[in-house]
Symmetry: C2
Subunit: 198 residues, 2 copies
């Protein structure tokens, strides 16, 4: 199943979901098209599985890195790091997750959307915490959430592993931009060198 998913991700990323035929997937893993139906009910469910898996993994990864971080500045830094790491490491899946939502049934769409909302809400609550503590200056929480997430997500559309910047430099640069948006001047805000004492 792992090989089938991987083949599906590659092909859907390259050709889009409607133009990816099950015969292409089958050929890539050395099977006959009909045999794929032992692994999913229909073509739509295959797409749904791929999207659900990546969204769930993202949420789990975020939970792991966010636990015990009650300080909004530290939490925000962790969020940005997780986001950029995940969206560059698994860029094809996250790309599919944005482009192929129309390929789902209404019910599947609602389900995936709920996962996306949970993720977005995590970010929003960090902003709210930071505003309460006075670390961030935010006027409209919702618009600011949209703006920052769009900025961070876009990285996956152009990022290449052998680019002129390391992933660490990228994270540092975008962290700086985000803190500028929030007018956060705390000395530990953007620098990536200081180890938090936990």
């Amino acid at each position: 199943m792992a090989a089938i998913s991987e083949a599906g991700i590659d092909l859907i990323f390259q050709y889009g979901f409607p133009s990816t035929t099950l015969r292409m997937v089958a050929k890539k893993v050395g099977m006959q098209a009909g045999s794929l139906y032992n692994y999913f009910e229909d073509k739509q469910s295959f797409l749904y599985q791929i999207m659900k898996r990546s969204r769930q993994d993202l949420l789990e990864e975020l939970d792991r890195k966010l636990t015990g971080n009650s300080d909004p500045v530290r939490a925000l830094k962790a969020f940005i790091e997780v986001h950029i790491e995940f969206y560059t490491e698994r860029s094809k899946e996250m790309f599919i997750g944005r482009m192929e939502l129309r390929g789902l049934t209404d019910e599947q769409f609602r389900d995936i959307n709920a996962l996306r909302d949970r993720y977005e809400w995590q970010f929003t609550s960090i902003l709210e915490n930071g505003r309460r503590t006075g670390d961030f200056i935010v006027d409209d929480i919702r618009l600011t959430t949209y703006a920052i997430l769009a900025m961070l997500t876009d990285i996956s559309t152009w990022y290449r592993p052998r680019g002129r910047m390391t992933k660490g430099q990228l994270i540092e640069y975008y962290t700086n931009l985000v803190f500028r948006i929030l007018r956060c001047e705390r000395p530990d805000a953007t620098g990536g060198s200081d180890k938090p004492a936990d």
Copy 2:
């Protein structure tokens, strides 16, 4: 032809290009499918026409609003205004322009991409001017271009005409975010009330 394009835009926006059949387009404008071939060579060219038109209109609109604006702060404000106006007013086309690039031939893709590059370059040169005059504080021009354009373009994915904010408020809010990113503190930077004397 205008009706055919409009029907195509609506359908491609809703179902995606590969899933939009020429029979659907024909039905929407009260024609037979075969008759559409009097208006374009093949399905791909139809998509190409739609994309090219919107990209060209955007560039023309930008040129119109940018001429004679040598001051980087004023130019940036004009750019943001044009961008948000266009991406909300013609959101379906701009959505298609980002989602359906795979539907083009290599040659068509390069052509559309060139138009996109010209637009991006306009923004980049405003940033460079502002850095030279000292109005903007920018470290990496390219990353900052990507980040800001992604932020602004994202608006078209959630904007609804009857939302809680007017388009003017939206422009003002995002203008403020952009100037924060650039650490631009000039008094006329974000306020939308002061009429430029030209």
